[in-house]
Every structure is written in C-alpha cells, then in structure tokens.
Amino acid sequence: MAGITFQGVGKTYAGNVNAVREVTLEVADGEFIVLVGPSGCGKSTLLRMVAGLEEITTGQISIDGRVVNRLDPADRDIAMVFQNYALYPHMSVRENMAYGLRNRRTPRDEIARRVDDAARMLELGPYLDRKPRALSGGQRQRVAMGRAIVRQPAAFLFDEPLSNLDAKLRVAMRGEIRRLQRRLGTTALYVTHDQLEAMTLADRLVVLNGGRVEQIGAPLELYHHPATTFVAGFIGAPAMNLLDARIEGGRVMLAGHDLGPARGPEGAVTLGIRAEDMHPAETGLPMAVDYVEELGSGRIVHGAIDGQPVALALAPGAALPAHLALHIAPEALHLFDTTSGKRLPDALPRPARTGVPA
C-alpha cells in the first residue's frame, strides 16, 4: 500500500499529439482518486502510463516513492481492472485469479488462501471452476476485481470498469467497489467519463480536459467551487447553467435584472448558476418554460432566460405556468472570466458546505 506521485507527467504520440500535458498530482496512501473527463481528455492514457502500458514521454511517476518510468508493468506492484474485463477465456475463474500470483512464485497454499478469500469477499465461491464465458457480465466484472485483489498490490487501477454493465448493476457494483476499497485500504486510481460515478466514488476528483488538469478536489468542493466553466459544465446533473451576463457598476446584471454584487472587472462575464439554486418567486428573473423532465423525486424544467437555455431543478408539484419568475440568492452566483473560463473571486462569502458528508 502506497501513494502515487505524478511530476509533470506528459504523453506525446507520434505526430506531436499531446494526449497528456504536465500532470502533477500527489495521491495519498489509501486514497480513492477518480480521473474524470470527456472522451479523449487523456484520462485513460494517464492511467495506462501508471500501469506501464504506455510509455511516459515526460515527467516522472513514482509508486511508493519508487520511480517506475522504466519498470516493467509486472514489476510496478499495481493491479488493473479493464473495461471489458480482459479475463483469460481459456482459464477457469480460479486460474484467472491465481495466474498473476503463480508467476510471482507465491507459495501454493498462499495462492489458494488468497483466491478463496477474494472469492468469499466477492461471492464468487460457486463459480471458481467455471470459465468466464459461463458467467454473466456482473460476475465477470467481479472476477476481474478478484484478480486485482488477490495480488494485494500497492494500488488498484480501474479503467472504466463499469461501463459495460447495465444501469442497475452499475449502481450496485459502484457501491461494492467503494466498500471493497475502504475495507482493503488500497490506493485506487479510477478512470471514468461518468461524472455521477466520479462524484460517488472519489475521495478526490481530478477533472481532465484536453490532456490538462482542470481541477483537483473533493467531489463537493468541485461541485460548489468549480475552478473553470469546463468543470462547472461537467460536474453535476444537470450541469451548471452558464449564461452570458455583465458586470455593471459592481453589480451582476442579467436581462436587465440586478442579481447581486460582484467584485470582478466591469464588462462581459460568464455567470454560473446551479439548477437547484434558482427558486420560483413572485417577482424576479423571467424564465420561459420549454419542457419538463419528470424524475419522480423531482423535476427538471428546461427553458430560457434572456434567450439562453437554462435548466431548473424543482420539487415535484403542480403544473407550471409558461413563464416563471426566479429568485436567486446572491451567494449562489458563480462568476467566470468569459475568455479564459477561469473562476472570478466570489463577490460574497459562501456558506461553508464543502465538507464530505459522513
């Protein structure tokens, strides 16, 4: 068990394609880090560089204080869970789990003990002598996890391990992965493009965009204090509403309405508002309702403010009028620079609500 350190890690493919640039990150021992971003953002490449499946072009990766740049994948003391499981089709579940240990000359009885332990933990006992093709998707996924667990590695690497499962099973497996990782206390790097999966699993999230780190932080910290418009638009469902607004005379102005004080420079500004931070009121910002998504536990109202698309989260209730007036608390406003997309300093102090829920 150990931490992982990235120092200015970069990956350049032939033709000067920079898949990953200058990633610096310190992963603490036992931490669950989720690398998240849209496809092509370099998250998988970064993970594969840790595994040794991709060469590291620049920078350094160390696991447990040991630089692994030049080490063979088998010598890096990591175990990986692949998206399509990558089980050995000709080996039984037991052999699949034992193979990595056999090659490391683990004593026979020790292998048997660890495989049995993992099988018990993952409820794979009845399937140990089956071939992977005789298992369901969820069972295969657990075998892939078992193969990683028995190795007792310094770190687990997960490469979108749940994306081949159906939605219901994904939720169940997500919980299982989190419980297992807590119980074993093994450092984990987890790659996903699903922000919901990222939010629910991570101790800390690393949001990547175009090979660069956009922001690193606890899920709620990113949710409440997105550092860029990219993070604001990526984290949360529905994503944060981003609107073109102006700062005039130290006030945020949208569609002729004064929304609150602002400290940023005068002129155009990108205004971010979470869907649940807008509340219907007697008077306020006018919103034209387009359509409503009923989720049962709540509803998402889609419409437009000042001609700009907006989503609004409301509790279920009565039918909505075609036009709403919205009240927004001044401290719920997020301001971003229009050109760089970077967050501008908050106008008002925010209530402390960034702590990880117990």
Binding site: Y88, H90, K168, L169, A172
Partner: protein
C-alpha cells in the same frame, strides 16, 4: 439539498441485489423453416453432386478395382480378393515408402507450423514497415507447387544450385536426385518453404484476434514474454493451430505431389517418395490399376484414422473462444 442532484433516481445502491441465477445458455443458431421438405435438399444438391461425382464415385471405383487384377491394356479384369492388399503391405519397398511418408509428413508439418508460428509472432510485433514485411513473407504462397518444385530444384541443382555450394562449405557433397538422404532433405526443405506462408497468414490473423486487453492483462501478470506466450497467447491460438495441423498433414501427404514429381521425376532410381506419389507411379506409369487402387484405399483408411485421432484426442483440448 445539494446532494440530490448527484444521486440517481431509483433505488439506493444497497437495495439492488445482484442476479443470482446462472448465465443462460447461448442462444441457438439462427433457424430457417422451410414450408416444403424438399426445398433444403434442393439448396444442398449442387454441393452433394460435386462430392458424389468427385469423391464418392471414384472412391467406390477405387475400392472396387482394388479387388481385381486388371489387364494393363484394359481388356479384362479378374477378381483376386485381397491379394492386391497383401502384396502391397508385404512389399519391402512399400514399407520403406510408408516409413518415409510418415517421417516426411511429421517433419514438414512440424517445421512448417513451427517456422510459420515463429515468423507470425515476430511479424506481429513489427510496427514500422509491417505491411512490406508481411507481404514479403506471404508472397511465396502465390507460387504454384510445380513452380516451387522447379525453383527448389534449381536451388539444389548439382551444377548451378547455391545450396550445393553452401553444403560444400561444410564439407558435404550434396547430390540431390542421386543420394537418397540428400533428396529427402531437398524435398522437405522445398515442401516446408512452400507451406510456411500459408501457416504464417493464419497464425498472424489468429494472433491479431487475441484481444488487446487480454494481452495487456497478461503483461501485468507475467514479466516473462515466453510465459505470456505459453500461457495466454498459445492457448488462444489453439483453434487456429489445430485447423492448421489438419491442413498441414493433408498438405504434406497429398499436395506435395507436384513438388515431388518435379524433383524426383527423370532421376535415377531409389529416390524418396510419398505414398501418394507411389500410387501415381504404380497406377499410371506401371499400369497396375488394381495394386494402385489397393494402395489408395489403404491411404484413405490411414487418413480417416488420422482425422479421427485428431478430432478425438487433440480437439478436445482446444478452447474455442
């Protein structure tokens, strides 16, 4: 209040139970129903005709004539029972040729498969100039067997052949067509050379069908490349290898005919040959239709036995994806 947006609608993770029931059996192959029972037979008729005319009919003919002693000029035949078989099996020459055929078959199959696999494994790793490399290796396959025989003969020629000079370097006087062992060496070499590209193509495509992720998983599990090859790649190649084994045995027994014909024909006697070539010699050169038929029936039985052994014993160990 903010957490609701991050959680999915629906049951909480703990409430969802994993499905316990075993994996359902694979769906049956697609079935087509015909209204009239004769329709399917109509579809397979052309294939059945081809098999009947070019395989069953000659086979029956061969079995039939193997019990007769036929006049060389085709004027008559007299029933001799199993004399033709007895004669063939008791002949010392026939046994020598059978022994050579077995050795030849084993050597050609083993070497062609082994070298083909080695080249495929190496070519699979080539990244730059891969297609040029592969084309060069596959090109030989486009050469017709008699031409292969001719080219081979030139290589091993007593006067102009470079292999004779090569052997001379090691102090060996290579006399293909005169010396039994030297001719055998030349036959094996040319037959293997001709078959390597075929095996190469199949092994290469077999290798490329091994999922990348499985190879990568193996990379994390085993440091030694040889172990990864032995434990992961080779078992996944087994279906390909089994298919090639059947094909290569058939090749070395039957399809080497043209090569042998070109290299042995018109040469002094006592040259190595396979049973198939002997059938041809006795039947068409020696006009001994009955004896030749008996030999081909024996050959047929041997091949049938071999095939049964292959499918019963070896295929059982093959894992089909």
């Amino acid at each position: 209040m903010t957490d609701t947006a991050a959680l999915p609608p629906g049951p909480a993770p703990q409430a969802v139970r994993r499905p316990r029931k075993p994996h359902p059996p694979a769906a049956p192959a697609k079935r087509v129903q015909f209204d009239r029972p004769l329709t399917p037979w109509l579809f397979v008729l052309p294939q059945l005709l081809v098999v009947a005319i070019f395989f069953y009919w000659p086979s029956v003919q061969a079995v039939n004539s193997s019990f007769y002693l036929e006049d060389p000029f085709g004027f008559g035949a007299s029933f001799v029972g199993i004399d033709n078989y007895r004669e063939a099996l008791s002949s010392r020459e026939y046994r020598t040729i059978a022994a050579f055929t077995a050795g030849f078959c084993a050597l050609v199959t083993g070497l062609a498969l082994g070298i083909g696999l080695l080249l495929a494994v190496k070519a699979d790793k080539v990244i730059r100039g891969a297609s040029a490399y592969k084309t060069a290796l596959i090109a030989v396959y486009a050469i017709a067997p008699p031409v292969t025989g001719l080219i081979g003969m030139m290589f091993f020629d007593m006067h102009i052949g470079p292999f004779k000079d090569l052997a001379a370097l090691f102090g060996h006087d290579l006399r293909v067509g005169i010396d039994y062992d030297d001719t055998a060496l030349a036959l094996v070499t040319v037959a293997v050379w001709k078959q390597i590209p075929y095996n190469f193509i199949f092994f290469l495509s077999g290798l490329q069908s091994v999922p990348v992720a499985v190879r990568e998983a193996a990379l994390l599990d085993a440091r030694s490349g040889w172990r990864r090859f032995r434990d992961i790649t080779l078992p996944l190649l087994a279906p390909t290898a089994f298919f090639l084994l059947v094909i290569n045995i058939t090749y070395s027994l039957f399809d080497t005919f043209a090569i042998i014909d070109v290299m042995v024909k018109d040469k002094p006697a006592n040259n190595p040959m396979t049973l198939v070539y002997k059938v041809y010699l006795d039947g068409f050169k020696g006009n001994d239709i009955g004896g030749s038929s008996a030999q081909s029936v024996i050959l047929m039985l041997v091949v049938a036995a071999l095939t049964i052994v292959q499918f019963r014993l070896i295929e059982r160990r093959v894992h089909y994806g």
